[in-house]
Symmetry: D2
Subunit: 378 residues, 4 copies
Amino acid sequence: MGQIGGSLDAFIGAVHRRAAIFDHEIELVAGCFSQSPEKSKATGRALYLPDERVYDSFEQMILAEKERPEGDRIDFVSIVTPNHLHFPAAKMALENGFHVICDKPMTLNLQEAKDLVTIVEKTGLVFGLTHNYTGYPMVKEARDMVRNGKLGPIRKVVVEYPQGWLSKDEEHNDYKQAIWRTDPARSGAAGAMGDIGTHAENLAEYITGLKISELCADLSTFVPGRQLDDDGNVLLRFEGGAKGVLHASQISNGEENSLKIYVYGELGGLEWRQMEPNTLLYKTQESQRIIRPSVGDLSAAAKAHGRLPAGHPEGFFEAFANIYRNFAYAVRAHMEGRPADPLYDFPTVYDGVRGLAFIDTVIASSQNDSTKWTKFVE
Amino acid sequence: MGQIGGSLDAFIGAVHRRAAIFDHEIELVAGCFSQSPEKSKATGRALYLPDERVYDSFEQMILAEKERPEGDRIDFVSIVTPNHLHFPAAKMALENGFHVICDKPMTLNLQEAKDLVTIVEKTGLVFGLTHNYTGYPMVKEARDMVRNGKLGPIRKVVVEYPQGWLSKDEEHNDYKQAIWRTDPARSGAAGAMGDIGTHAENLAEYITGLKISELCADLSTFVPGRQLDDDGNVLLRFEGGAKGVLHASQISNGEENSLKIYVYGELGGLEWRQMEPNTLLYKTQESQRIIRPSVGDLSAAAKAHGRLPAGHPEGFFEAFANIYRNFAYAVRAHMEGRPADPLYDFPTVYDGVRGLAFIDTVIASSQNDSTKWTKFVE
Amino acid sequence: MGQIGGSLDAFIGAVHRRAAIFDHEIELVAGCFSQSPEKSKATGRALYLPDERVYDSFEQMILAEKERPEGDRIDFVSIVTPNHLHFPAAKMALENGFHVICDKPMTLNLQEAKDLVTIVEKTGLVFGLTHNYTGYPMVKEARDMVRNGKLGPIRKVVVEYPQGWLSKDEEHNDYKQAIWRTDPARSGAAGAMGDIGTHAENLAEYITGLKISELCADLSTFVPGRQLDDDGNVLLRFEGGAKGVLHASQISNGEENSLKIYVYGELGGLEWRQMEPNTLLYKTQESQRIIRPSVGDLSAAAKAHGRLPAGHPEGFFEAFANIYRNFAYAVRAHMEGRPADPLYDFPTVYDGVRGLAFIDTVIASSQNDSTKWTKFVE
Amino acid sequence: MGQIGGSLDAFIGAVHRRAAIFDHEIELVAGCFSQSPEKSKATGRALYLPDERVYDSFEQMILAEKERPEGDRIDFVSIVTPNHLHFPAAKMALENGFHVICDKPMTLNLQEAKDLVTIVEKTGLVFGLTHNYTGYPMVKEARDMVRNGKLGPIRKVVVEYPQGWLSKDEEHNDYKQAIWRTDPARSGAAGAMGDIGTHAENLAEYITGLKISELCADLSTFVPGRQLDDDGNVLLRFEGGAKGVLHASQISNGEENSLKIYVYGELGGLEWRQMEPNTLLYKTQESQRIIRPSVGDLSAAAKAHGRLPAGHPEGFFEAFANIYRNFAYAVRAHMEGRPADPLYDFPTVYDGVRGLAFIDTVIASSQNDSTKWTKFVE
C-alpha cells in the first residue's frame, strides 16, 4: 500500500496506517504523506520507509510505482488527504491500475462522486471508502438482526452524532484539524454535515437497509466567522414509510464523539453507541438483552469482525482495521480472479455517492424555507 | 383534598394520591373517583374514606363540600380524569372557591386552556399542573445551572421521549390506559404528542428558560386503525436563536419511559435522563462532572426538592410529590395572604396554555407540507 | 401507628413516616419523637398531630395509648431511635399488646436480640424489622430466580457496601447522624459493620436463601479518635459450600450508598446495585439480560412490590414502604385471625438475631489473628 | 522480533503480534510458533514470513538468528507459550544476547522467577512482562493521581477480577485455552489466581504504589475434576496500613473479563473498569468527575499512552501495544546506550517476581486454616 496524505501531524492518516497493518494482510511500502516534500520525507523516515519510496507528490508516486516490477510495487493507494484531493488522487490511481481506499466524504461534491463511479466501473478495480463505523462487530450484528426480521418492519430510526470540539473558533487557533474542515475549498459545501453527518446517514442506511427518500433540514453555523455549518437537525423519511431523525453537531459542548443510533420496528428495538461499541441493546416489550462480542450465539458477520474473547474491548482502530482487512480480501480476490466474499463487506463508491447526495440534499433543504420536504436524489 | 377521577384501575390517580400525602402536608378527605358511583364508592372504601365524602359526580362533590363548615371541607381538588373532563371540573371547582391541581395536558384544546387562564386570573385561586418531570431535584439543578450561566448562551436543545407501550393496537385489547389515550374525544387532537410530547416541550422550556418560537413537525400513526399520532419528530427553533430537536413516540419498541434531554451552550452541556433521574451530567471541553443529589454544593432549588442523603434514590413518586408539596405551600400562602415562595415552584395555568399551543402547532405543521416553519402562537 | 424517635432533625424517622403512609394502609396518629419533650411536641405539630397524642416518653405513649378505647388507639409502634433504645421500647410495646416495627440493627447486642425472640414468640404479636433493601422489586425477583433454579446451585456471593460519608471525623463536627453511630453506648459494638454490614449480610442471605456458616473478618478504624470500626472486609463461607466476600465501609471516599451484590451459580449470575435499583442483570455464558420492573414476565413477588408502569423509577422510599405495607398486611391478618400471605414478606425478629450474631462474629474474628475461620453462631 | 509460541489456534499469540507492530516500531521477522514444526510453518506462512525464518524450536531460532549478520537478525524474542516454557526460553534468549518480552505469570514458580532476575541483571538486557492492563491510559492517569496526592494517603483497595468462562469443565471439552490453564504442569501451582489473580495484584500495586505485606486467602475449585483453583477470595494488608480485598474467579458465571479496581484515600476515591477502560471515576465527598482520554488536563503519562481524539475508544489491543511500544523504546535506548525514558514504563522482571510470590502466598494461606495472616515474601 502507498499512502497519500497523513503526515505526522495529521490525525486520520496514522489511523489508516495502523488499521492497514493490523491484520498482517497489508504492508505500508510507499507514501506521499504531505504536499511538503520535507514533511513527506520526515514522515516516511519515522515509519522506517526507504527514502526512494517516499514521494513528493501523489502523481509522482503513482507513476513511479507503476514503473516498478510486478510484485515489488504497491497494489493500492490509501487516500487520507483533505476532501478536495480525494477525487484527483483516486482518479489518477485508478486510471493507472491501482486499487483505491479513500477517506470520506468521498469527493468534494456530488458531480465528482458520480464521475468516480464511472471510473471505478470502467476500470473494474476495487474501491473502498472508510465509513469506519460500519466496521464494528455490533453494527454488523445490528444489521444482521434487522435483515433477519428480529425487529420486524422498521418504523423509526434516530441517529445522533454530537461532538463539541468546534464549540469555539478553533480554526483561528492554528488548529490544523479545524482549519481544513471549516474551509469550503478543502472540505466541500458542508461542515458538520459533511464530516460526521455523512457517517450518521451511512450508519442508518447500513443497519436498516433502508434508503432515505426525503428529508427536511435545518443547518446552523453557531460560531461567528465560521464558513460552514457546525450543527444540523434533520427530519428523515425512508423508502417504505419509516420515519426518523438525524442530528449532527460540532458545537454540542462537552460531547466527545457520541455517535449513537436507535432503530425501532414492529417487533423490537435496537440501541448502539459508538463510545461503548461492544454493547448492543435489543429490547422488546417483553425482554431486554445486552448483546456483546463473543457472548452467545452471534451472527456470522459479527463473529467475522471480532478478534478477542468476551470482555476484551476492541475499539475504534479495530473497527477501522476491519474495513482495511475486508478491502484487502477483496483486492486479493480481484488479483486471483475470484468474487469477493460478501461476509467481508466494506463501504464502496456507491456509499460515497449517497454521502455526497446527502450533503447536497440537506443543504438544499436548509436553504429553502418554502418547501418542507426535499427529495433525496443521487 | 378531594380527588376527581382515579378509580382503583386507573394508573395516574394513585400516583397523585401518594404524591399528595407524601410530605404530610395534604390529606385526602373526599373524592369522586369514577363516573360509575359503584366504582367511586369502592375506591373510597379501599382508601378508608367515609362513604359520605365519596361522591357520585364531581359536581356533587364540589357543591356538597362547599356546604361543609370551614376547616372541615376540602381546600382544593385534584383532577386526574381523562383530558376532556379537566376543563369542566377545573372551571366549576374554581368558580366555587376551590384551588385546583390538574393533570396534563391541561384541557382538551387551546380555547379551553385560554378560558381557564381567564377563570384562574379572575378567581385569584391557586392552579397547579402536574408536569411532574420538572419536580426532580436534578432538573431543578439543571435549570439553576442554565440561569447562572454555567452553560453560557444556549445553542442547542435535544429532548427525546420514546416509549414503546403502544407498539401494538392495545386500544383494541381492552387496555383502559390505551383506550382513552387514543380516543380524540377524551384525549384531544394529539396522541403521543399530547400525552408525552407536551412533557418534553415543558421540560425543554423549563430547564432552558427559552420559549419555542417556531417548529417543523412530522407526526405519524404507525399502528393501523389508531385514531391519533403515535410518533412525532419535530425541529425546534427558540426565541434568541437556539435550535433543537424534539421527538416523542409510543411505538419506539422496547423503550420504557425514556425521557431525556441534552442542552448545549457556548460554555458547556448538560444531559439528564428520567429513568436514572439522580444523575445529571455537566460536560465541557475540559471536564466532565456527575452531579448527584446531596453530593457537594448544589443549588438551593435542588436541595429544596430532595429528602434523602446521597445514594438513596428518589424517583417518580418523589418528583411528583414535589409538585404537590409546592402546590400545598402556595395554597397555604394564599390562605394566609402571603406570597408564595418562588423556591417552591410548580407548573401553572400558563404552562398549560403552552402545552395546548404546542399540540396545535405540531398538528398544524404536520398537516402542512408546503410550509416548513410554523409559528408557535399561544 | 405511634412512632418512637424520629424528631425533625433525624434522617430515618421521616423515612419511616413517609414509608408508613405511602400505601394508605397506615396512619400516623401518635408519637414520642424525641427524648426532649419540646422537640417531640414540635415534631408532632409539624406533622399536624394533636398535642394530646404527642408524648414525652415512649413509656408514657405506650401506657396512655393502651388506655384509649379500641379502634381509637394505635395498633403498633414504629421504633426509629438509636439502637440502644430498640430493645426496651420493643419489649414494653409488645408486653402491652402492641405490634412492633423496628429499625436495624434490631438491638444493642445479641443477648437482647435473643430475649426479643422470646418475647415475640410469647406474645404472638407481629414484629417487623426494616432491612429495607429487601423491599426492592428487583431484589424480590433475584430471590425468586435463585429459588427457581435459574442460577443453579450457588457457588459465590460478593456483597459490597461502600459509603464514604465518615471519611473525616464527622462525629466531632456536631453531625448528629455521625455522633450516635460512632458511639458504642448507642450504636453497639460495631460501627460500619453494624450500620451497613448487617444490611449486606441480610441481603446476601435473603437473595440466596443460604446462611453464612463461618467467616474471616478484618475490621479497621481509619479515622483517628473514632471508637468503632469504619471499614471491614470479610471472607464468607455458606452452608452448602458457597464462598463469598462481604465488605462494608464508611471511609470509601466518594462513594454514596453503593450497596451491590453479585451472585454466581452453576448456571448463571445476577448483579444488582442499590443506587440503580430498577435494573437486575442476569448473565450466563450464552446471554445477558436486563430485568426491569413492569417489563415482561416477572415473578409474583416482583410484581407485588412495584406500583408503576415500566420506566417510572421507584426508589428508596418505595422499597421502604413495601416493608411497612407488608407489615401492615400481617398486622391486619393477625387482627382478623388469618395467616399472613407469604407473598408479602418482611424481615422478622429472626433476621434481627442473625444481624446481631453477624456483628458478634465479625468482631470476634477480627480480634483473633490466630484463627482463620470463626463459626457464625446465633 | 522473533516470536516463541502463538500458533494460529492460540489466543494471546496473535494479540502480541498485533500489539508489537501497532506503532510501527517493531517488525515480526522470525518465529517458532508451535512445538509442531508443521503448525509453526503454517503460522509463519499465514503471516507472510519467509520459510527460512520460521523455526522448529525456540532453541533453533535463537541459535540461527544469532548467526545472522547484525542488522539482519532479531533484536528480541517475544514469549507467548504456556507458562512452563517461559523460563527456559527467556533464559536461553538472554544468555544469547537477545532482549525478552514475556507473557505472565513470568515463570512456572518463584524459584525460576528469582533465577530470571539474576540472569537479567547479569546480562543487562531489557526484560518486559505483559501485565497489559497497566498499559491503559486511564490506569496511567490513576497512578499519577495517587502519586500526586489527589487521593491522600490510601486506606482501602478493592480489586476484582471475575470471569465465568470456566464455569463448566471446558478442559474436558477439547478447549485448548482451558486445557493448559488447568494443568499444573504447564500453568503452575495456581489456576485462576495465577492466570488473572496476578493481574489483579499487579494492577493494585501499580496504581497505588503500595506493596501487599500480608494476606489471607480462601481458594476454591468448584468444577469437579479440575486440578487447580478456579476461584479465590483474599483479604489484603498493604505496607503502610492500607487494607483491601482481592478476588478473582473463572466461575463467576456470566462475567466476561470484568477486572475492576476501587482505590480510596483520605481525600478521594477512584474507580476503573477494564471493560469500559476509557472512563476513570474520581469521587470525593464534594464532587464526582469522569476522567476520559483526550478530555481536559491529563497527566503526561495518560497522554503518552493514547493515540486518538476524545470519544474514539481505544481498547485491549492498544493497551497491549503500549507495553510493546514502551519495551521497544527501552530496547532502542539500550542499543543507543541511553537510559530509557521513565514516562514509557512497562512491567519488568521484578513485577514478575511479585506475581509468583503472590501465587505462592495465596496458596500457602489458603492451605493453612490455623493462621490468619500469611506474610507476602518475595
